[in-house]
């Protein structure tokens, strides 16, 4: 069964450093998402991406964040200058998309980002 994969599973970085979290969505999916979960808090929507551009972003997704689909298979989330409060589990998801029906979002296992 196809699945969303994410690398690395755990990333430790120092405050102020740039990190790139990588995701490989399911191959025929067209919509891509990033969510995050700070320990003890709710899973929060960050951004959705379709047709090589951001469709929607939350207030969390400020100028420090960017997303890219560099090569037609990977989907990346970059945090330019990490802060302590960026420590969280980051989930990538993808869905087929479609005009009339709800298509399930398939999630990866997550990347745990620890900023020290």
């Amino acid at each position: 069964e196809p699945e969303v994969t994410q690398t690395p599973s755990h990333q430790v970085t120092q405050m102020g450093q740039e990190v790139i979290l990588r995701c490989v969505p399911i191959s025929n999916h067209l919509y891509f998402y990033w969510y995050r979960q700070i320990l003890g808090q709710k899973v929060e929507f960050l951004v959705s991406f379709y047709n090589n551009e951001i469709s929607e972003k939350s207030e969390i997704f400020d100028d420090q964040f960017s997303v890219e689909r560099p090569d037609g298979s990977n989907f990346t989330l970059k945090i330019r200058s990490t802060k302590l409060e960026d420590s969280a589990m980051y989930f990538c998801a993808s869905s087929v998309g479609g005009a009339l029906y709800y298509y399930e979002q398939y999630f990866g296992p997550g990347t745990r980002l620890t900023v020290t």
Partner: protein, 116 residues
């Protein structure tokens, strides 16, 4: 704005006994509701979804949920718990409920423990 409240952060049941995980939602329109499950070190997996068809929704692994508009509830049930059901369960609402580009709004999660 859409939101969900999971009424129990932890539920503990004995194997073979019924499971009830409670969820209330708030939505300004007819919602699309979901239950996701996360087993340790695994991705988020869709258990079931309500998208304005039958109010009693059956999902995978014997789980089902009933949409009750009058009570704004979408509780998850299973007649007989299995050890493998031990996991974190999330009640989720889609914002907006239909259309190509939706973000998922998450509850805090309920940790289900199943005792032998």
């Amino acid at each position: 704005a859409q939101s969900v409240t999971q009424l129990d952060s932890h539920v503990s049941v004995s194997e073979g006994t019924p499971v009830l995980l409670r969820c209330n939602y708030s939505s300004s329109y007819s919602p699309s509701l979901f239950w996701y499950v996360q087993h340790p070190n695994k991705g988020l997996q869709l258990l079931l979804k309500y998208t304005s068809a039958a109010t009693l929704v059956k999902g995978i692994n014997g789980f089902e949920a009933e949409f009750k508009k009058s009570e704004t509830s979408f509780h998850l049930t299973k007649p007989s718990a299995h050890m493998s059901d031990a996991a974190e369960y999330f009640c989720v609402v889609s914002d907006p409920p239909t259309g190509n580009n939706r973000k998922l709004i998450w509850g805090l999660g309920t940790s289900l423990a199943v005792n032998p």
